[in-house]
């Protein structure tokens, strides 16, 4: 047996040696070529300072050697004395192995390069990144399968047709999602918006961007409602974004609301002298009620009726002159109810000193002294910065606004409204605090007052920029 083998080798050694030598030559040349090529590439990448160089060199170095081996084996087979059938068979086999290796290398390379570059787009959601990478992977896998099938002589046209139809069907089925993904990439790439931005949409919704996903942007409004805006819609909208982080208050502004109940004192006046006599003795809550009750009861009116004393003197006693004098008392000038009461009493006494007190109210139209009872209740709304403050202020009830402007200033003896105190003490916004403090709230409806305060703060912010 061994003699037979030795005999076959002695007669056919050239048939084996030539392809083997060719294959070994390819290996030697490959090693040399790879060394030269990668030395050159490292030099070029070093000069260009390309961040992807390590990835490229790491992944392709091994693959390059594999490709050389496959090429060497292919060449060896082609110059061998094998039949054409076997040559063709090995040719297809090595071709297929080469395509698989090439596809694998490209996929690995692209995956790592995409990760490197997409990570720099901070606003890009992780799921979008995953979708892009997987999409590219699938494309190369499909392409390599088609090439391999083609190498083996299998018909690929029907497959490609099928694939095209499948892709089109998938596109139509998931067109919104696809558009949202691309819009999401655009939002992230152009840095149109990012988590934490305060946005106001053309449709009126506004709030903070709490999350950006591959499909939509989640906007959290001041009332904790979440709006979902599809990415594709967001890029087509006109959006106002406040991108600069706002100054945070040292203490948040806690919004309160207040409710009133009327308590009868049982005291009533039918004439001016009775009115002034009782007015001097009643407690502050009574004076507060009769100088502020109209603000809440008639908060929709501009101009609002004057205080109850002025109305009664004009309407029930028919004393228009004194009525005008009492109406002209500017409540805003006073920082305490005691001082306001003194002024009211002085004006009535001045009038009584000049003429006898002959007028009396018709029966049933006496002045009834009423005490205001207040319950102050904290709401769930808190503001940490000016933007948040404005947004909450837009939605709180007028009772809340009333409490912080009127009740706090005069009834809780603070002398200034709550908003100005917070702006000054907790946000160090002295100028804005003063602008709101000098607003005379008695000359506005409560809604008008709300708009005015918002306007002042918005003007102060000056941080809005239109995009989209």
């Amino acid at each position: 047996m061994s003699n037979a083998v030795a005999g076959w080798i002695s007669t056919n050694w050239l048939v084996i040696a030539v392809p083997l030598i060719v294959f070994l030559a390819f290996i030697v040349v490959s090693i040399w070529a790879r060394r030269r090529l990668y030395a050159y590439l490292e030099k070029v990448f070093g000069q260009k300072k390309w961040e992807g160089s390590d990835i490229f060199l790491d992944i392709t170095k091994t693959s390059f050697f594999q490709w050389c081996l496959i090429l060497g084996a292919y060449a060896a087979i082609q110059i061998s004395q094998l039949s054409l059938h076997f040559k063709s068979l090995f040719g297809r086999l090595f071709g297929s192995i080469f395509i698989v290796s090439l596809a694998w290398t490209i996929i690995s390379l692209i995956e790592r390069l995409l990760r490197l570059y997409l990570k720099r787009i901070k606003a890009l959601p992780a799921t979008t990144m995953k979708v892009i990478i997987n999409g590219v992977k699938i494309a190369f896998v499909v392409a390599s399968i088609l090439i391999v099938l083609d190498i083996w002589g299998m018909p690929t046209t029907p497959l490609m047709l099928l694939l095209t139809i499948g892709i089109l069907a998938a596109f139509f089925a998931y067109r919104d999602e696809i558009l949202n993904i691309f819009a999401g990439i655009e939002i992230a790439r152009s840095n149109l918006a990012k988590t934490g931005d305060y946005v106001r949409l053309e449709s009126g919704e506004e709030g903070y961007i709490s999350k950006i996903t591959r499909n939509n942007i989640q906007i959290k409004a001041a009332d904790e409602k979440i709006f979902l805006i599809p990415n594709s819609k967001f890029v087509r909208m006109t959006v106002i974004i406040s991108e600069k982080p706002l100054k945070q208050a040292s203490q948040p502004f806690r919004f309160y609301t207040q409710l009133h109940l009327k308590e009868l004192t049982g005291l009533k006046a039918g004439s001016l002298s009775e009115l002034v006599s009782i007015l001097q003795d009643v407690d502050d809550s009574v004076v507060y009620y009769h100088t502020h009750n109209f603000i809440e009861e008639h908060q929709y009116l501009t101009p609002q009726p004057a205080n109850d004393f002025a109305l009664w003197v004009s309407d029930a006693l028919g004393d228009e002159v004194l009525g005008e004098k009492l109406a002209n008392i500017d409540t805003f000038e006073f920082t305490t109810i005691g001082a306001l009461r003194e002024r009211l009493v002085d004006v009535i006494n001045e009038e009584l000193a000049n003429r006898p007190d002959r007028r009396t109210a018709p029966q049933g139209r006496e002045f009834h002294f009423i005490r205001s009872l207040s319950a102050i209740i904290p709401t769930s709304h808190v503001a940490h910065d000016l933007r948040e403050f404005v947004e909450v202020l837009r939605m709180v009830s007028i009772d809340t606004l009333y409490f912080h402007i009127f009740e706090a200033r005069l009834r809780l003896h603070k002398g200034v409204n709550d908003i100005s105190i917070w702006l000054n003490d907790c946000l160090d916004e002295k100028e804005l605090a003063d602008q709101i403090a000098v607003l005379d709230p008695y000359t506005y409806t409560l809604e008008g007052l709300r708009s005015m305060i918002i306007q002042l703060i918005e003007k102060h912010l000056e941080r809005e920029r239109p995009v989209g």
């Binding site: 609301t257 109940l261 929709y300 009116l301 139209r365 009872l373 319950a375 102050i376 009830s397 009772d399």
Partner: protein, 415 residues
């Protein structure tokens, strides 16, 4: 007798949010939260009929929805007892009534029986009107907070009856009146809580133009002609003849029609006589429509008010005047006499026009029909005034505040 109503299938509190704002409902919830664990026991004389039962039917379920354990109990009484309380009612309104010592004995006897049989289970005992007033005698024994809610005008009462009731009223922790001038000077705390209307009731809810048109068609009214409407029972105190005279003054120059819609009161023998007089006075004028509307015709009343160009309430004497509130809620300009509770609702030239005479009423109507923009402005203000001050949600808020204030004597309560 001790039937307690915990749930009543009426409007849900959230249904009011579109009308009064979500923040109002939130505030009610916050306030109600402070009454957690407290039982409010309402006591009156009947579950059906009359204004108090109507208010409690709506109020108790709403309080329950807010998480307040509100209950409703009625006292028991025979015909003799209710005969006496009817006399009391009239006497307190200032009407001459002969109330004999025997009447007082009957009242006390039935009250004593109720004291023995009634189950008191409230932390706050909320007693409505004079019928159950004597129940306060139980206070010594069971303690708790007691409130007497007076729904009637006691500004000018029969002194004998008032003094008798007052001897019980003064023992309550607090009393509640509907208007300042309805109240009496008392040593205990007195609160002012105005009546209210329910914007979701048939009488006040929104109606489609088709419903309004069908009602106009039913009564043969011309929808193209300006309509002046007064809704009230046929009573001299509502001055229907005065309304006709004012209308005739206006009609000389401005084409318009008058609708006097209402019913007759079964307990008022004068009512039919007034209706007859009104019919006689109106028969010669085809533009005057006198409509005798049966009870439970709330949608028809609503439709007439909504079809009106001007709503009138030319009363000579008035309690609170809820028909004015209803008119204002429809966003219509209202012309009304400056009497009673009407003055609380209409700030002259701001939320409506007040008048003191037939001529004044005619002038006001003419002004409104000739100046539709001004009429519209008044109507809009009136509607907002009611939204802010005279809806059931405000009533609910006042009751919650009242209950809370029983535990806090100060003027400013930090909750």
């Amino acid at each position: 007798m001790d039937k307690e109503i915990y749930h009543h299938a009426k409007a849900k509190l959230q249904d009011y949010a579109p009308l009064v704002g979500r923040s109002t409902i939130e505030a009610l919830n916050a306030l109600a939260g402070r009454l957690s664990g407290k039982v409010v026991q309402n006591i009156n004389s009947t579950y059906t009929g009359g204004g108090v039962a109507e208010i409690l039917t709506r109020m108790v379920p709403l309080l329950n929805q807010l998480g307040v354990d509100a209950r409703w109990t009625t006292i028991k009484g025979d015909d003799r007892f209710f005969g006496v309380t009817k006399k009391f009612h009239n006497a307190l309104h200032g009407k001459a009534e002969h109330v004999s010592p025997e009447d007082f004995s009957i009242f006390l006897e039935v009250s004593r029986k109720n004291l023995e049989e009634l189950k008191f289970n409230g932390d706050i005992i909320f007693v409505h009107d004079p019928q159950p007033v004597v129940l306060i005698s139980k206070k010594q024994e069971i303690g708790e907070r007691w409130v007497w809610r007076c729904h009637i005008d006691v500004s000018n009462p029969d002194e004998k009856v008032w003094e008798f009731l007052k001897s019980y009223v003064v023992d309550y922790d607090a009393t509640v009146f509907s208007a300042p001038n309805f109240a009496r000077k008392l040593p205990n705390r007195q609160f002012l809580i105005h009546p209210s209307i329910d914007p979701l009731s048939d009488k006040n809810k929104d109606l489609s133009p088709e419903v309004i048109d069908s009602v106009l068609h039913k009564y043969g009214l011309d929808k193209e002609k300006p309509m002046i409407v007064q809704v009230s029972r046929f009573d001299y105190l509502k001055d229907p003849i005065g309304v006709i005279e004012a209308f005739e003054m206006v009609r000389k120059n401005i084409p318009c029609q008058l609708v006097l819609a209402g019913g007759t009161a079964t307990d008022d023998p004068e009512s039919d006589k007034v209706l007859q007089e009104v019919n006689d006075r109106a028969s010669s004028n085809p533009d005057i429509h006198v409509l005798l509307i049966p009870p439970e015709s709330d949608i028809e009343i609503n439709a007439l008010q909504r079809a009106a160009s001007v709503i009138m309430q030319k009363s000579i004497k008035e309690g609170f005047g809820l028909t004015v509130t209803e008119g204002l809620w429809k966003g219509k300009p209202v012309v009304a006499s400056a009497v009673g509770g009407i003055q609380l609702q209409i700030k002259n030239k701001f939320t409506g026009l007040l008048c003191h005479s037939i001529e004044g009423a005619a002038f006001a109507i003419r002004l409104l029909l000739s100046n539709p923009e001004y009429a519209q402005w008044l109507g809009k203000n009136g509607l907002e005034h009611v939204r802010q001050n005279f809806l059931i949600t405000r009533h609910l808020k006042d009751y919650l505040m009242l209950f809370v204030s029983l535990y806090y004597p100060q003027d400013v309560i930090h909750l």
